[in-house]
């Protein structure tokens, strides 16, 4: 089966986010002072061939732990959907 996987990787709470801060400052200068608490993350989309949803999920968890996220400073959220048959 084919699955559409989306992994959202974000900094853990309390870790500084220089990119978010810079964007926040720039938005303020551009006339959007209402924006605050800007945080930037990364989203990784891919399709995955796997036997079933459970094995897809466990494979993606392993991918995250080993490659996609750095557990020391990042956390991740996984979304998996069954890909529409094409």
């Amino acid at each position: 089966m084919n699955f559409d996987v989306s992994v959202l990787v974000r900094g853990v709470e309390g870790i500084a986010d220089p990119e978010g801060r810079t964007i926040e400052r720039a938005l303020g200068v551009l006339g959007f002072p209402g924006a605050s608490a800007v945080r930037v993350g990364k989203i990784i989309n891919f399709s995955l061939a796997a036997d079933d949803l459970a094995s897809a999920r466990s494979e993606v968890v392993e991918m995250c732990d080993r490659l996609l996220a750095n557990p020391v400073i990042e956390r991740y959220d996984i979304t998996i959907n069954t890909a529409p048959a094409s």
């Binding site: 900094g11 500084a16 986010d17 400052r25």
Partner: protein
């Protein structure tokens, strides 16, 4: 309070234990204060009295290093050493380690290591113009070591490149002793007009302390006491995560510019960076150095997160912050400069006078008139940590370890293959670093034995002078004999600098060692300091700064003693590019220095045969000094004249990998092979006896007779020619293969190019 009272207090109260303080240290605190410390006080003592901040295990040894010379303006003890380079220009230099953080999070660990060392330099009033990054990781065959190397290199580049300071050199060592404890040392050098020199001192009762830069978050709390001052046990990486800091090079860039502008405008009385131990360190050190007190309003400190306690604010290691001491009348101008550079600036403290007995107190207040959370003699935090003369023990099996017999009995079936396996081009590393910014780089990484820069930079007067620098370390030599190994390391570094025509002027060192509670490690440290002192005295190179990193151990195994040194030298006039490590077809190849067939302590014995024992040759330091001066003179003649005498075409010192690796690198650099008939013994090819250099020349007789007239041994070993590297019956390698094995080593290991 009586001793028994204190003992009783300690036994009832275990608050100090999780902070890494010993019972007797807690006792000393109670004795200093005459009472039980508050939480804020205790937290400040725990970070300031940590190994990392107080050098409590190493201080009594470091005193033996020679630190004086006429040109030394600032020696050890300040944020950086400073030397006079003439013409009103001074040079500030320092080296630091960021080992433990780089193991936990290689990118951010290395990045914040760069950030920290930069602040040490610009806090002296110098503009940072050069970084070097000696790195030590496990073998490339080990997957975790490859991951660490990749992250560390990205981190150094990610920070250095965007902060706008070129990384102009460094070193890379692969050895299994660093497998679970990589070392990231970072050297920085800055230049300044001498009259901008400023010290990290508070003075002037009523003066204001302004905190500049990033907001304070919960990053790196206890980093110095919990992280840098203890080893890693098996699988402990995770538990130490809260100490990870994230660097922001753009904030640092603006901080550099703002601080230099404040100093140029004479708006600052004293300034100090915030590094390990954060505000506790910056406030107590500046007050202690100036013999004054300070009232800190901890509520005034801008925070990144809600709900932070005073303890957290005082000990946070949030990056990119500085503390400036200014007169109240200059506040508006200071704020204006900071506004222009988009730097947050907040008055957080005032300088207070000493008490009737001459002691300046650091007081932490919760709000301008709020309750007093801490009141301690500033000096007791900064300067009065307990000093330990820890037990030392010479290892029992020294004779066996130093026996050169086993190494010298080794033979291989294919010396060509041995040599190829020993070649590593660090270009994969330095290609990821801006190494040309400021257009000062005459010899960048990979070009010569040392980096050579124009002595120039924004804001200082232009000269024709050159500034040479080399960072060196060889733990394998030191593992067998730390004293002799360190002498050889200093000698090698001085010769590298001399090979670009410069005279060595100053040295900084980073002593990376294992657990100081192991008596053998303390013996190694002590021997290393003695070796460094001997070499620096004999070669007239003052030690102007250093850093000690202890507890480099993993799962109970200490790393091999790894003293890293960086020598900086000056050359009066560079009007042409001096000769580098290439040669020209038909050059004669001359070896300067004594021949040796000792492969004890060599990389060949260690990496090819797994034999880690055997002494290296002793360096005759008096003779070595003559060699350094001779080599520098030869190169200066080529660099300083509009028309070069053309005696020296190429030069390369012999070090790690021996003559074989030196000749291979010269062949690859020039694209011309060589025919070496004088070397017939494989041991001579791989011996790492220092105090030797290879010179390529078209006028061999002249060169040899000049050398011999100085009492320096010199022989012709072969000629540069053809497209193969040939050494008697030992080695025969085509240049193409030699080049690809050299250039592709790291990429292949990282899977960035397919392996054969």
């Amino acid at each position: 309070m009586s001793i028994t009272d204190i003992t009783e207090l300690i036994s009832k109260d275990a608050r100090h234990v999780p902070l890494g303080l010993l019972d007797k240290e807690y006792g000393s605190i109670i004795e200093v204060l005459g009472r039980v410390p508050t939480d804020v006080e205790l937290a400040m003592y725990s970070v300031m009295w940590s190994e990392h901040c107080s050098y409590k295990s190493s201080r009594i040894h470091l005193r033996r290093l020679p630190t004086k010379a006429d040109h030394v303006l600032v020696g050890p003890g300040e944020n950086a050493g400073v030397i006079d380079a003439g013409d009103g220009v001074a040079v500030a230099l320092r080296i630091e380690s960021h080992n433990h953080p780089s193991f936990i999070e290689p990118y951010q660990g290395a990045a914040t290591g760069v950030g920290g060392i930069l602040r040490d330099i610009f806090t002296m009033g110098a503009r940072p113009i050069a970084l070097m990054d000696p790195l030590f990781v496990g073998p490339l065959e080990d997957a975790q070591s490859r991951y660490l190397l990749d992250g560390i290199v990205r981190g150094v580049g990610g920070y250095g490149n965007s902060v706008g300071v070129p990384t102009v050199g460094g070193q890379i060592t692969f050895d299994r002793c660093y497998e679970r404890n990589p070392l990231v040392n970072v050297f920085c050098l800055g230049v300044l007009p001498i009259d901008r020199l400023v010290l990290g001192q508070a003075s002037g009762v009523g003066n204001l302390c302004v905190l500049l830069g990033s907001r304070t978050g919960r990053d790196g709390i206890g980093g110095v006491s919990v992280l840098a001052s203890a080893g890693f046990r098996e699988d402990e990486g995770g538990a130490k995560r809260p100490s990870v800091q994230v660097g922001d090079p753009y904030e640092e860039k603006r901080l550099i510019e703002a601080c230099l502008e404040l100093l140029d405008a004479k708006l600052v009385v004293g300034i100090q960076d915030l590094g390990g131990a954060g505000l506790a360190c910056a406030t107590s050190e500046t007050a202690a150095r100036g013999g004054v007190g300070m009232d800190v309003d901890v509520l005034a400190v801008p925070r990144r997160e809600p709900g932070m306690s005073a303890v957290e604010v005082m000990t946070s290691e949030s990056q990119e912050r500085m503390l400036a001491i200014i007169t109240p009348s200059s506040l508006d101008q200071v704020l204006e400069v900071c506004r222009r550079w988009e730097i947050e600036a907040t008055v957080i403290a005032t300088v207070t006078g000493a008490d009737e007995s001459g002691v300046g107190h650091l007081r932490i207040l919760d709000g301008p008139d709020g309750p007093v959370l801490a009141d301690v003699p500033a000096r007791s935090l900064a300067d009065e940590a307990p000093l330990y003369d820890r037990p030392m023990l010479e290892p029992a099996n020294l004779d066996e370890r130093r026996d050169t017999g086993p190494a010298n009995a080794l033979v291989s079936s294919d010396y060509s293959e041995d040599l190829k396996s020993m070649l590593v081009d660090p270009a994969w590393i330095y290609r990821q670093y801006d190494h040309q910014l400021f257009v000062n780089t005459i010899f960048g990484p990979g070009d010569a034995d040392a980096t050579l820069l124009r002595l120039a930079g924004p804001g200082i007067s232009h000269t024709r002078k050159g500034l040479a620098m080399s960072s060196d370390a060889n733990a394998a030599w030191c593992a067998v004999d730390p004293r002799r190994g360190t002498r050889a390391t200093v000698a090698e570094s001085a010769l590298n600098v001399s090979a670009t025509g410069a005279t060595p002027m100053a040295l900084v060192n980073c002593l990376n060692f294992g657990n100081p509670e192991h008596p053998q490690v303390m013996w190694e440290l002590s021997e290393t300091v003695d070796g460094m002192a001997e070499a620096c005295s004999a070669l007239s190179i003052p030690v102007v700064g250093g850093n000690v990193s202890l507890y480099n151990e993993s799962a109970g195994r200490d790393i091999d003693p790894t003293p890293t040194v960086a020598v900086v030298g000056l050359i009066d006039s560079v009007v042409r590019r001096p000769p580098s490590i290439g040669w020209i077809a038909r050059d004669r190849i001359i070896l300067l220095g004594e021949r040796s067939a000792n492969v004890g302590g060599s990389r060949w014995a260690r990496d090819v045969h797994g034999v880690r024992t055997g002494q290296i040759d002793e360096v005759d330091l008096a003779k070595h000094k003559v060699l350094c001066e001779f080599v520098a003179q030869l190169v200066r003649e080529e660099a300083g004249a509009e028309v070069a005498p053309g005696l020296v075409h190429g030069i390369h010192t012999v070090g790690d990998g021996g003559l074989g690796v030196a000749l291979a690198e010269m062949s690859v650099a020039s694209g011309v092979g060589c025919e070496i008939d004088e070397i017939v013994d494989h041991r001579e090819l791989f011996s790492e006896s220092v105090s030797r250099a290879v010179i390529a020349t078209g006028r061999a007789d002249e060169l040899i007779s000049r050398a011999r007239s100085m009492g320096i041994a010199a022989i012709a070993v072969g000629v540069a020619q053809g497209d193969r590297m040939r050494v008697s019956q030992l080695v025969d390698i085509g240049l193409d293969e030699l080049s690809s094995r050299f250039h592709d080593r790291i990429e292949r290991a990282l899977g960035e190019i397919a392996s054969h």
